[in-house]
Symmetry: C2
Subunit: 161 residues, 2 copies
Amino acid sequence: MNYFEDLTVGERVVLGSYTFTAEGIKAFAKQYDPQPFHVDEEAAKQSHFGALCASGWHTAGAAMRLIALFNQRDHAERKERGESIPKIGPSPGVRDLRWVKPVYAGDCVTYASEIRELRAGRRPEFGLVVSHVTGTNQHGELVYSAQGSVFVERRVPGPSN
Amino acid sequence: MNYFEDLTVGERVVLGSYTFTAEGIKAFAKQYDPQPFHVDEEAAKQSHFGALCASGWHTAGAAMRLIALFNQRDHAERKERGESIPKIGPSPGVRDLRWVKPVYAGDCVTYASEIRELRAGRRPEFGLVVSHVTGTNQHGELVYSAQGSVFVERRVPGPSN
């Protein structure tokens, strides 16, 4: 990611894709969402979902994985070019996280992120970046949507609130 | 969980506690949030966090784990009493997910859930339950807060929208 001053509202990146295998869905859900339709194919068939599907928190975790890997690649490229690397700070939270459609075993979800807001944060050395993160399955259907926020370092200290 | 008709706004349950070990924090983050301050003690010391801390998505997953286990215990008790068990449907999403304070290795977070809204959903056999889920650490500090929603079966079909 760029320094805060170099970011612009409307900037969009495709983060990458994540395939939800039956094994991956069950492994996540056993630890973090052990509901029958996420851990057991037969129970899932009897449920309103009709088949094994991923925990909504797994679809969020996949988005975060791709965001972190995207930043890693970007920072490695900056380092190679001899550029300095902005610090990425904590995230205060997420607004309007929506699980729009179920994500079934075998589905491949492509995530993208678009900057929606750039504003002052609590500390002058960081600005707050609000991004709309979306996940779209292999049929082109939106399955995941959230307004994430994160503090990103400024080149020079700016205003704070 | 009760059938939709038997739930009341203001009802609160303590879901249980979850201890974030260094191993657990790193195992989650390697898969779903591979940022330096979540996967490496030394890198975390150099970061704004000052020490290894859990991915915010891990703190959300821990909440979901305790919600699912709470419902499992509740449903087992109903079964033993010979009562029928309400179906729990999908969740449309979460509003205002806030990572209020960092969760460090060794922290024990106690989660609770309070019903905030009960309203009609898209299907007459389910009602929508909106709950405020909170996580509080061993020092009594709020670390996690979110407005979750889930469809819960009605005893008799009701209005829909």
